[in-house]
């Protein structure tokens, strides 16, 4: 099956999503949030069984957070990036931890660093940061240089 035929098949199985192909052996799928779980499980049964990672991008100027899933099919040797968007205020995405065992860990990390809620995920406690009281650090309105100056101090400034 060529990549164009695969793109057509994926588009037919997931109505409501926009499919495009790029970089030779990759597909890109944009899905609305309410179809997130069904799209991912549909892709998993279609052969994309390997979840590379779940990531999040903060589009602060558009006031949205974008959630990405990178999947790979060993049999077809095709990669697909699935994208969805949620608003920055009180973001929530349904959980896919039942589909892949390590998806729960990625969701926990995104919850800690971006503040996205995953209702249904049993374990969302912080695990990387110690006693964190500020904004989720990977958001664009968190200034890491200023934080480092105030919390830990810069040597050159202290010695003056």
């Amino acid at each position: 099956m060529s990549i164009a035929e695969l793109a057509d098949r994926v588009a037919r199985e997931n109505p409501g999503c926009r499919v495009s192909e790029r970089y030779g052996n990759q597909l890109e799928l944009k899905s609305p949030v309410r179809q997130w779980v069904t799209t991912l499980s549909q892709l998993k049964t279609a052969g994309f069984e390997h979840l590379s990672n779940l990531a999040c991008v903060d589009w602060i100027d558009q006031d949205e957070l974008e959630l990405l899933a990178n999947l790979w099919s060993h049999a077809r040797r095709v990669h697909v990036t699935v994208k969805t968007r949620v608003p920055r205020e009180a973001p929530a995405v349904p959980t896919v931890h039942a589909l892949w065992p390590q998806a729960g860990v990625y969701e926990r990390e995104i919850h800690e660093f971006f503040g996205v809620d995953f209702p249904g995920n049993p374990e969302l406690e912080p695990m990387f940061l110690h006693n964190w009281k500020d904004l989720p650090p990977l958001r664009k309105d968190f200034d890491t240089r200023e934080y480092s100056r105030r919390a830990y101090g810069f040597l050159e400034e202290e010695q003056e």
Binding site: P137, S148, F154
Partner: protein, 214 residues
């Protein structure tokens, strides 16, 4: 935050009898094998057959209760700092701290990171710093030999500084490890600022919502 006590050099350096013991101590230093950061990758080459640290009497040790040197190999995140402080306090005296690389000196390549401390000297006393990112095995051996010479001369007394200035070190540690307030301005005011800027650009008066509930 209290200042460090000013103590004269003669009070804190080792006396003559202590220096005789130091002659033997410096030739049998055991270091705690706790790899705190990325600098730890150059420890196995320093310890193994090519650059052999053991000919100086320096060998790895598993527990802090039986080691003399605490090697901070590289950067220190907050969780690591908590463990390093406890490990340092568990070691019996005399004990020495060696900072590997540029990260314990001034933050190194992670100087603007929210997760790593920039200046280790504020939290535990550091006796010798080895520059590099990361220091090659020859630099490691050079730094440890410098520590051996300092011990023999009686000048490696970081642990006495820790005892005398305990309050100062503890205040710094608590400030970083036991925060109760956020460090930067709270999120709501940052969003209000942004909304105000957008409203100004759209021509509305600052303080009035620009289309939509605030």
């Amino acid at each position: 935050m209290s200042d460090m006590l000013s103590i004269s050099r003669e009070e804190i350096l080792d006396g003559r009898w202590e220096r005789i013991l130091n002659f033997f101590r410096s030739r049998s230093l055991w270091m705690l094998y706790y790899c705190t950061g990325c600098g730890a990758i150059e420890l196995p080459p320093s310890m193994t057959s090519r650059f052999d640290l053991e000919r100086f009497g320096i060998g790895p040790m598993a527990t802090p209760r039986q080691s003399d040197i605490l090697l901070i190999t590289g950067y220190i995140s907050l969780k690591t700092l908590k463990r390093v402080v406890r490990t340092y306090e568990q070691m019996p005296e005399p004990k020495w701290v060696v900072g590997f690389g540029s990260c314990p000196i001034n933050g190194g390549i992670y100087w603007d990171s929210y997760a790593t401390v920039n200046h280790l000297e504020k939290y535990i006393p550091v006796d010798v710093s080895i520059a590099g990112c990361m220091p090659r095995p020859q630099a490691v051996i050079d730094g440890l030999q410098k520590l051996m010479r300092l011990i023999q001369r009686g000048e490696a007394v970081g642990y006495k500084k820790y005892q005398l200035n305990n309050q100062w070190y503890k205040t710094n540690q608590r400030e970083v490890l036991e925060r109760t307030e956020p460090v930067l301005a709270p999120a709501s005011s940052a969003r209000a600022e942004k909304r105000a800027r957008r409203a100004e650009a759209a021509g509305a008066l600052v303080g009035e919502p620009a289309g939509g509930a605030s």
